[in-house]
């Protein structure tokens, strides 16, 4: 069921690798492209300027019955603390990195154009714990609280149904 923030996802994963390698999974475009795309999709473009204020531009390419379909995502690195913490924004864009409006992406009206991904790394020696938080709504946004309170009641109802 939903967490306190109904619009964020938190996942922990411990990797059998050093924190240097774990960090490079995110910071090195070649590694990032190897795992990021959904199953069956390729990442033909992963431009990442991994420093605070640096831009990122990612292309996902999927094979569909109508031929290959490309989707582009852009964003900015907001926090870059090597081997510790990486924060970046993510939004659908065109191939030039111009962010698309929710109308253009057929997203619902209040879906944020930009979401935030936070990755925290914990050095466990030969292993590394990663904690990923994907925030769909800024937790300090005025709308977030009311939205959650209203939906809490609805979720209780669903659980009881």
């Amino acid at each position: 069921m939903m967490s306190d923030d109904t619009r964020s996802v938190v996942i922990e994963r411990t990797l059998d690798t050093s924190v240097d390698v774990a960090w490079n999974m995110w910071a090195d475009p070649a590694h990032f492209a190897a795992w990021y795309g959904p199953g069956g999709a390729a990442i033909p473009v992963a431009d990442m300027d991994v420093r605070v204020g640096g831009r990122r531009l990612i292309c996902m390419e999927m094979q569909t019955p109508n031929g290959p379909m490309q989707m582009w995502f852009t964003g900015e690195f907001q926090e870059v603390v090597v081997n510790k913490r990486l924060v970046y924004t993510d939004a659908m864009s065109d191939d030039q990195g111009n962010i698309l409006s929710p109308e253009q992406t057929r997203m619902p009206g209040d879906h944020p154009e930009t979401t935030t991904v936070i990755v925290e790394f914990e050095d466990l020696g030969d292993r590394t714990k990663m904690t990923l938080t994907h925030v769909g709504v800024p937790t300090d946004s005025p709308g977030a609280m009311g939205w959650n309170m209203a939906i809490d009641k609805l979720v209780e109802y669903i659980a009881a149904a």
Partner: protein
């Protein structure tokens, strides 16, 4: 991202309907049981036609169904659609779990290539 984009329009419609405080309040009220338009309008400083318009949006999104009795037409919450909203976050969870699975596979391949250097990046382009 991908799942949300490839989602059918229905979930988008549900979210669009939920993207309004009055409509969410109406739904919260209906959790307590069915109600007619007059009852739903009571807590709001809004005209009946305005409330009716909100109800129409909720109805079109399938979040509310309305009785057939012309006089009262009580509104009832349709919990099924809300369950789809509850699974929204789960979709993102699935996407990231899949990604981490692939990351672990990728790591295993790398380490297979360079078993003696588990702490070093095996490819040159990996240097920060």
């Amino acid at each position: 991202m991908i799942a949300a984009v490839l989602d059918d329009d229905r979930l988008s419609e549900t979210f669009a309907a939920l993207a309004n405080p009055v409509r969410r309040a109406i739904l919260a009220r209906l959790v307590d049981g069915e109600a007619n338009v007059n009852e739903l309008a009571e807590p709001f400083a809004m005209s009946l036609p305005a409330i009716s318009r909100h109800l129409k949006v909720l109805e079109q999104a399938g979040l509310v169904t309305r009785g057939r009795r012309a006089q009262f037409r009580p509104c009832v919450l349709n919990a099924e659609r809300l369950e789809e909203v509850a699974t929204w976050a789960e979709q993102y969870r699935r996407i990231w779990n899949d990604r981490f699975d692939r990351m672990a596979d990728h790591l295993q391949n790398l380490q297979g290539d360079a078993p003696d250097q588990p702490n070093n990046e095996p490819t040159e382009e990996s240097e920060p």
